[in-house]
């Protein structure tokens, strides 16, 4: 199956994987610190140092992207704040779609579907929460009152629990769920090589697929004369190579 539809540019992919790498280290060291059964691993300096080192990376990476690609960053951030009735329709169809693969029940989705938008918003908000509370935990340690310290720990933990659970969901829905297979044409390929198959784009992000091709597909069975490359991706990043 040829993967010819471009979904993510190289800078976006780089941001994703560097952020994911830092986040994974933070998550694992966080789990070690959080779960009492693992307290032997939490002792000494290393867990803390890895946690702090990865925290600095996590903080810097999106800032770097914002500086290097401000338009793309701004477009991406805006995407998380567009909500409509369509999102409710996704929510209604969600159980049948993900549990029973009832694709007919799921209305056509845009560039990112409602679930992806939710996750994206969660990542954005949690980044702010983690950064602020993380710094406060370190600096509020010597203060005479404990309120600031306690609140920082509490919010840090809440963000950890929320994003931790959603991280499992994210990984599951990217590479394990049957609808996202085979790996070489679906979301995994999108984030590693930047492209997906036409088949995948049409079935999972139909509204976006039609928009980038500017063709309304009536007969879904016949191959249409659609351009091989997503025009919007090329416009955004001239010189983009797959």
């Amino acid at each position: 199956m040829e993967t010819e539809i471009i979904r993510y540019s190289r800078p976006v992919r780089w941001l994703h994987w560097t952020y994911a790498g830092a986040f994974l280290v933070l998550f694992l060291t966080g789990v070690i610190i959080f779960i009492p059964a693992l307290d032997k691993l939490a002792g000494g300096e290393w867990t803390r140092m890895f946690h702090r080192g990865a925290a600095i990376l996590l903080f810097v990476e999106p800032i770097a992207y914002l500086i290097l690609y401000p338009n793309s960053a701004w477009r991406g951030i805006k995407e998380t704040f567009i909500w409509s009735k369509d999102d409710l329709d996704w929510a209604r169809a969600m159980p049948r779609y993900y549990f029973f693969l009832d694709e007919k029940a799921m209305p056509p989705q845009g560039h990112i579907n409602t679930g992806q938008k939710l996750w994206w918003l969660m990542v954005l908000v949690s980044w702010v929460v983690f950064a602020v509370t993380g710094v406060l935990i370190v600096v509020s340690k010597g203060l005479p009152t404990r309120a600031l310290f306690e609140w920082s720990i509490m919010l840090h933990d809440v963000a950890f629990i929320g994003t931790g659970c959603m991280l499992f969901v994210h990984i599951f829905l990217s590479v394990i769920h049957p609808l996202m297979r085979p790996l070489r044409s679906g979301p995994w390929n999108a984030m590693v090589h930047g492209t997906v198959s036409r088949e995948y784009a049409r079935s999972h992000h139909r509204k976006w697929y039609e928009e980038i091709n500017k063709v309304e597909i009536r007969n879904t069975d016949s191959p249409d004369s659609v351009p091989l490359v997503s025009s919007t991706a090329v416009d955004r990043f001239p010189g983009l190579r797959r």
């Binding site: 939490a42 002792g43 702090r52 993900y98 340690k141 306690e150 879904t220």
Partner: protein
């Protein structure tokens, strides 16, 4: 296989409830019970008599030597506990019968039965000794996170090192745990020249302390035995000449609500939700795989632009 909604619920609801009923493995001080009964009612205790102490600080010197703590940069009275000062004798003034009078108060870890530090410790460093009731700490495990420093109601544990380097360690009085475990007394008790310190079984110390307070009330009507019932009973009992407030001590110290909420609610919630997520996703995979198999079984011919969408 057509899965009815009823069958789906029959499977999924119990499965998803599993993480909620599995108890997270906690420290010795569990959420509900607290330390073992033997520690709560018994164990060992230090009795400090504030009416006999005159602030000579011999106990500070003995503690420093026995624990090989660094010497102080300058002579003179200490104002507060520190990573290198595990006991400090403060002299303050208390008002008794309308007159201001010098009073000494020895600061140290009070080895609470309901110890906040044990509850919040993230590395299992702090723990109760089930036999003596002493709150011990394992130096190798401590990573200096500082939770205990912020949460202790008496502000006892102190961290050394700088935060920036990440190399920090908490220190506090150990009630000479290794000596106590071999039937000896803490060094401070042995050295006090004014017999202001006693050591023995906690019940014995409570009785002795209560008797002395009764006698003391003739001259000091507000004399009290601090530590008898506070926080489940402290293993360092202090006879005060005036009310705790006059010494700057909390009258009714409690485990901070934040600590209880964190260990008792946020923690289990986190573990529960995490488990729920994993179980839910596993269930999703099972159902989706089944549906996928059926779908693949239904379409005999290979896909030729066959639609998956609407």
């Amino acid at each position: 296989m057509e899965l009815s909604r009823r069958d789906f619920m029959k499977f999924s609801v119990p499965a998803l409830c599993l993480p909620l009923v599995s108890k997270p493995q906690g420290s010795i001080t569990s959420l509900a019970g607290g330390p073992a009964l033997s520690v709560r009612t018994g164990g060992k205790a230090i009795l400090y008599d504030g009416s006999k102490c005159n602030g000579c600080r011999a106990c500070e010197v003995a503690c420093r030597r026995a624990n090989r703590l660094a010497p102080l940069p300058q002579q003179g009275p200490q104002l507060d506990l520190s990573p290198n000062s595990w006991t400090v004798v403060k002299t303050t003034e208390v008002v008794v019968n309308g007159k201001a009078e010098k009073a000494a108060l020895r600061l140290q870890c009070l080895h609470c039965t309901d110890a906040t530090c044990v509850k919040v410790c993230s590395t299992g460093t702090l723990r109760h000794n089930e036999v003596t009731g002493i709150v011990e700490f394992d130096r190798d495990k401590c990573n200096g996170c500082g939770y205990c420093v912020q949460e202790c109601p008496f502000h006892v544990p102190r961290v050394s090192g700088t935060d920036a380097s990440g190399q920090q360690q908490m220190f506090k009085c150990t009630m000479c745990s290794t000596r106590v475990n071999t039937n000896r007394r803490p060094v401070c008790v042995d050295v006090c020249p004014f017999h202001a310190l006693s050591f023995g079984h906690r019940e014995q110390m409570v009785n002795e302390g209560s008797d002395r307070v009764k006698n003391l009330r003739a001259t000091y009507p507000d004399a009290t035995l601090y530590g008898k019932d506070e926080l489940g009973g402290l293993h360092v009992l202090r006879i005060l000449k005036a009310s705790p407030l006059a010494y700057g001590l909390p009258e009714r110290p409690e485990v901070p609500a934040g600590a209880t909420f964190w260990r008792g609610v946020v923690h289990p919630l986190g573990l529960g939700l995490g488990g729920l997520a994993v179980v839910g996703l596993a269930a999703n995979y099972v159902f989706a795989s089944q549906a996928n198999k059926e779908r693949k079984g239904e379409t005999k011919e290979p896909e030729s632009g066959g639609s998956h969408g609407n």
